[in-house]
């Protein structure tokens, strides 16, 4: 500006700009006339043409949701299905007075306040000719009552739609999971075109993890509508492709037995087939009824579930972090053997406690008087703590950590379910990183008996037990057995997923450990000897008791003195039969007290049930021509084709 004042001819310059602005004014006017001319062309000259097109423009494309795939257990029992339910729907356009309509409808069917609130919210959002649900899940009697009175209520109709149903209710709820209405957040992450007609999506468990398989492909209908947008007839359709049916590895009978065996206690049980990594049961108690979530759970019930100290919505089997207690002893003993530590070849004298050289603190044994002379098998069979304090001291935390990591402790197993915990296998590096503190020798000792920082999920424990039982064969636990393609009905089996196996240094070492574990159950002095009575098979196991409550140096832990939520967790790991393992289990009974009393008997029930089922199936198999594909007979084809020509005894 300052330059402009001195050098430039302001007046001439201003004149130049003004003339250009005037030119622009003319240009703007001309262009505007051009636009108006275009509008004149469309709205006056070609009006007839477009008006006709507009009248004809009544073919709408309506998306049709696919039917969600079914979920079965390994034997073909239905775990999740779609059942037709009836809902009461209202088209606002046809209603004169919504309030009086509601009053009159309430004489016929019950309409909860919450559903009315939902209805009123939708009333403002949807268009006047859209059908809006007022009441879901009508009973057959209610449907009948509405049908009789229907002539009195134009614009009110009963709609049938499929809704998800879990026929077994609470059984296996943590594993199966549930579906619920798609949330705003989920809308962001899903492909909106394939979900255009879908209202529900898997929220937890298998329903969530295998959403992609279960959902299916959307279909379309070309429908003719009247001027108000109401459908008159369907012109053509592309059918949706239903989702795949999934057969899970879980045996729901076993699951139910295991859940029941926990009784009143909270806890978790995981059973795995060691030969292929199939998860046979994944129990977390308390359970919940997944059916409550399908149409939106009542707020009060949900709050109660969230705030309950029992945490029924928490999947303990997958994400529970428990001190593994003495169940780690076989693994550390194996570490000692494989690392060729001198210690394990010599007996030690257990006098009931252990002291670090030059220290006062007594690391106590669970048995007050001590076990006397203890060698490695006896240390496992009788679960001598002192022996393992000494072993841990010789091994050192680094070697213990490295060995346990190979069994999968401290990392998620990679099972295809969301929300798996990774547990914790402590090391000096971890402690420096996480807590910024040095590692103390005493911490090595208590790690040796599965206390201290070490935490494991029940799934990790079961998986590690399976690996131990198979001599180092590590398979990723999996829950999907096969999927059945909805179009071809061809089953697609999933195959075992090996992860880095552990190569034994000496096979005999593993056999020695397994023999000691067998004696935990079958030996005369084993900590779980009580459960061997009448078992028709050989089982290997290890008890564990995880302390939650620190007992003073001179005090004695008395169960009755401790509040229930601070009592010890009872643990047990086991597999059977010893020679050719078919099932490996890990059991955690929260606040159940000692593992031998609370957890071990459950293992017996679980394994009994599973092995007897296997035997039954074997006899059935030899009697019947089973489907080679292993399809459940009642599912894919009539049973008689399987039994044809063979008379059963």
């Amino acid at each position: 500006m300052k330059h402009a004042l001195t050098i430039k001819d302001i007046a001439q310059e201003a004149q130049l700009i003004r003339s250009r602005v005037v030119f622009c004014c003319v240009l703007v006017a001309v262009v505007s006339l051009l636009l108006l001319a275009r509008m004149f062309q469309l709205q006056v000259i070609e009006h007839e043409h477009f008006a006709t097109l507009s009248e004809d423009n009544r073919v709408k494309i309506v998306p049709v949701p696919p039917t969600r795939g079914l979920v079965f257990d390994r034997n073909g029992t239905v775990l999740a299905q779609n059942t037709p339910t009836y809902s009461l729907e209202v088209v606002p356009e046809a209603i004169e007075d919504i309030d009086s309509l509601l009053v009159e409808l309430r004489n016929i069917v019950e309409i909860p306040e919450e559903e009315e609130a939902q209805f009123r919210a939708l009333l403002n959002k949807k268009r006047r000719f859209d059908s809006i649900p007022l009441r879901s899940r009508l009973t057959e009697e209610e449907v009948a009552r509405i049908s009789v009175n229907r002539h009195r209520f134009p614009g009110v109709d009963v709609q049938a739609r499929l809704s998800r149903d879990y026929p077994l209710g609470e059984i296996g709820s943590h594993l199966i999971g549930y579906v619920g209405r798609i949330s705003e957040e989920e809308l962001q992450s899903i492909d909106s075109s394939t979900y255009r007609a879908t209202t529900h999506i898997g929220k937890t468990g298998v329903e969530q993890a295998f959403e992609d398989l279960l959902h299916g492909e959307i279909g379309f209908q070309h429908v003719e509508t009247n001027a108000l947008g109401r459908t008159l007839r369907v012109l053509q359709r592309k059918d949706p492709v239903p989702g795949s049916s999934l057969y899970l590895t879980v045996d729901i009978g076993l699951q139910a037995v295991a859940e029941q065996a926990l009784g009143e206690n909270n806890g978790a049980i995981v059973a795995i087939d060691p030969g292929n990594g199939e998860v046979l049961a994944l129990v977390s108690v308390p359970n919940y009824d997944p059916n409550l979530f399908v149409d939106g759970i009542n707020r009060a019930t949900y709050q109660a579930m969230l705030q309950s100290p029992d945490r029924p919505l928490f999947n303990r089997a997958l994400a529970g972090r428990y001190p593994p207690g003495s169940t780690v002893k076989p693994f550390f003993a194996l570490a000692g053997l494989e690392q060729n530590i001198d210690k394990v070849r010599r007996s030690t004298w257990c006098r009931g406690f252990f002291q670090l050289p030059g220290r006062e603190h007594r690391y106590r044994d669970w048995k007050k008087g001590g076990h006397g002379s203890v060698d490695l098998p006896k240390a496992i069979v009788e679960s001598c703590d002192v022996y393992f304090y000494e072993l841990a001291q010789s091994l050192g935390i680094e070697r213990m950590h490295d060995f346990m990591v190979r069994f999968g402790f401290g990392e998620a197993t990679g099972i295809r379910l969301k929300g798996e915990g990774s547990g914790l296998m402590p090391s000096p590096q971890w402690k420096r990183r996480a807590r910024n503190l040095p590692w103390y020798p005493g911490e090595t000792l208590i790690t040796g008996i599965g206390q201290g920082f070490m935490l494991a999920t029940p799934l990790q424990l079961a998986s590690a037990t399976a690996t131990l039982s198979m001599g180092g064969l590590r398979l990723r636990p999996r829950v999907l057995l096969r999927r059945v393609d909805p179009k071809t009905l061809q089953p697609r089996e999933t195959s075992p997923e090996p992860s880095s196996p552990i190569k034994p240094v000496l096979e005999a070492n593993w056999e020695e450990i397994i023999e000691a574990m067998r004696n935990v159950v079958h030996g005369p002095r084993g900590t779980a000897r009580r459960i061997s009575n009448g078992a028709g098979y050989q089982m290997a196991g290890k008890t564990g008791t995880a302390q939650l409550f620190g007992v003073g140096q001179e005090k004695k832990y008395r169960e009755k003195d401790v509040p229930k939520h601070l009592r010890d967790h009872g643990l047990f790991i086991a597999f059977a039969p010893v020679k050719k393992p078919r099932i490996a289990v890990a059991i955690v009974v929260e606040n159940g007290g000692s593992g031998s009393r609370s957890a071990a008997p459950i293992a017996r029930k679980v394994i009994d049930y599973y092995l007897s089922r296997l035997r039954e199936r074997k006899t059935e198999d030899s009697l019947m021509l089973t489907d080679v594909r292993g399809l459940p007979l009642d599912e894919s084809r009539p049973r008689r084709t399987a039994t044809m020509g063979i008379s059963r005894p």
Binding site: M1, M39, L42, N57, R127, T225
Partner: protein
């Protein structure tokens, strides 16, 4: 100072312009209620955005043009920096990288460029003799082209077009010679094949669809066919508010945003369209009047450029919805649902008001 002007003068508001903007915004809310399926929440959200945008206009109007003049180079450099930043750390939405996140707020640096580019070009010319020499035209063109190319890269064809225009308008108003303009026009036509090469697939698709919408009636051509049916079936008097069947029955895509003009034309007919165009012309002519009245070259060039850019918005949107121009994805200012470009448009009106109202104070 006259009595009736005192309040608006003190607030640095230009009353005729303000009234024009308010009427347009109110009309926009009325159309939006219909286009959004009679959703009050949508209208309320837009009303809040409008209120915020008017607030920003008021704020900008308080800044005297001489401050804008001194800040112009710095604002331009900052804008350029942000445009480069967005290419590296910008958020990607719908295949384009336009957003820059600063804590909880995210914004499009390309919006800032809509103001800084004409400011910078005008700043450049204030010190020079007008009409500009060829060399100066080249410099000014570079000032405009660099941010334009950065925005093409994002890619955002509509916005880059607007920014290139805003720079060119300053050049034109500064008195660029006619033969140069002709030469530039020829050069642009010649470079069309190269542009085609640079375009993204979806942008090419839009051009192809523009040339022949009927080739893909259910795909890319669907927008244009449906919007032409909506406009054409509206006739002279329109189908009436809330009664546009094309718009109400879901046939018309993007009917709250870029294609809201089709809803308006269907429901209010040619008469409504004439009124709307007249309203826009009122605002544009008032803006150009402010440009003519401005006291210095910077004010004249800037006011003229911002006003003409606003008109380009209107022209391109109506042109594309009525099938005169390819679909480039520009909203109809003050009517379409959405807040990002609204803020910039209102800020530029704030600049206009500042130029108009600080004028007399300076001359006192």
């Amino acid at each position: 100072m006259r009595e009736d002007g005192s309040i608006s003068q003190r607030l640095h508001l230009d009353l005729p312009l303000l009234i024009g903007l308010i009427v347009l915004s109110a009309l926009g809310l009325v159309v939006l209620y219909s286009a959004g399926g009679e959703s009050t929440s949508l209208v309320i959200r837009q009303a809040l955005r409008l209120a915020a945008a008017f607030g920003i206009m008021l704020l900008v109007a308080q800044v005297a043009p001489r401050h804008l003049f001194h800040w112009a180079p710095w604002l331009y450099i900052i804008g350029l920096g942000l445009l480069v930043a967005v290419l590296f750390v910008g958020d990607i939405a719908q295949g384009a990288q336009r957003w820059l996140r600063l804590g909880p707020v995210s914004f499009q640096p390309s919006e800032l460029a809509k103001l800084t580019v004409p400011m910078m070009v005008a700043y450049y010319f204030v010190d020079r003799l007008m009409p500009p020499k060829t060399f100066q035209v080249v410099i000014a063109a570079i000032i405009a082209v660099v941010p334009t190319m950065l925005i093409v890269r994002q890619p955002d064809l509509g916005t880059s077009l607007l920014i290139a225009c805003s720079g060119l308008f300053v050049l034109f108003l500064a008195g660029m010679r006619w033969r140069l303009i002709l030469g530039l026009f020829i050069a642009l036509s010649a470079s069309a094949p190269a542009m085609w090469h640079l375009m993204h697939d979806y942008q090419r698709q839009r051009v192809l669809t523009f040339i022949n919408p009927e080739q893909d009636p259910l795909g890319a051509g669907y927008h244009i066919i449906q919007s032409k049916i909506a406009i054409g079936s509206g006739g002279v008097y329109g189908k009436g508010w809330l009664n546009g069947t094309q718009s109400q029955l879901d046939f018309l895509p993007e009917r709250s945003t870029d294609f809201i003009f089709a809803v308006f034309s269907e429901e209010f007919g040619l008469l409504g369209v004439a009124l709307l165009v007249a309203l826009y012309l009122f605002v544009v002519f008032r803006g150009l009047y402010i440009a003519v009245q401005a006291q210095d070259s910077f004010g004249r060039l800037l006011a003229g450029s911002l006003t003409l850019t606003f008109f380009i918005y209107v022209f391109v949107n109506i042109g594309m919805v009525s099938g005169l121009l390819p679909v480039v994805g520009l909203p109809l200012p003050l009517i379409s649902y959405g807040g990002t470009s609204l803020v910039t448009v209102m800020a530029s009106f704030g600049v206009l008001m500042s130029i108009q109202t600080h004028r007399r104070l300076l001359s006192d």
